[in-house]
Amino acid sequence: MDTPHEPHFIRPCTRIWLVLMALTCSTFAIGETGWSGTAVMLTVLGTAVIKVEMVANYFMGLRRTRWLWRGIVLGWLILVSGLITIAYLMTVK
């Protein structure tokens, strides 16, 4: 379904799609190893945060909007992932 003269955002979005697929496979692989611990948790959650930012900025097109819009999503992401991290660290002895 390719067409000539594609819009400028297609190539970066195609690369982002491939990166998102690869990062998903890496998260699954980590899950399959059964590893646990703070470093693993931070790696998996950090990977999810990066993926969300990629979807928001490239797929949703927020990188070409005012900082306010990106800031709302980024602020939400930092707050939610930060609280998840705090909840996880509460259980680490």
């Binding site: 799609w17 998903t24 496979c25 927020l62």
Partner: protein
Amino acid sequence: MINNTRTSHEIHATPPGDLAIWFFIFAELLAFGVFFVAYAFARAHNVELFNESQQHLNRLSGAINTLVLITSSYFMVRAVAAIKQGYSILCARWIASAIGLGFVFLAIKMAEFHEKFSAGISLSTNTFYMFYLSLTLFHFMHVILGMVILAAIMLKARNGSYSPANHTGVETGASYWHMVDLLWIILFPLVYVIR
């Protein structure tokens, strides 16, 4: 420089699509955010139970569903690109492909639910399953709503209702669909992987 035309590399004043959908998206992010944090703190008080119960989830189907939603989301990027070039039918085909992957997601998720319900697992089994079932069912309903929105946009695209100058509807539907993908990207590692 700030403007509202979406044909250049310039910074736009508002996000793609109808601005109203973005308030809806932010409300959804807030609701799911509360849900995610509640899950994390509930887990902090029942670590052994959550870790043990999580072992019985089908991580492979969760991962495949992540790949399916990401690809479906990418197809919507292609649909927006197609309509910006004036290819209505091509746009409708990309949307149909995105909807098709939505059905794949639902089928995999229903198989997972069937497996759990057949094993006698329900919302009242334990705290982990209460969160697992309610979170994934809540997201499941959003996938269905997204597919209904995409189907309506696909029909309009096929009828030639959109053009390079008027494609806000396609961008609106795509934004909602990306949000559904974005939420699953957090839900999958949180519920299926992190222990």
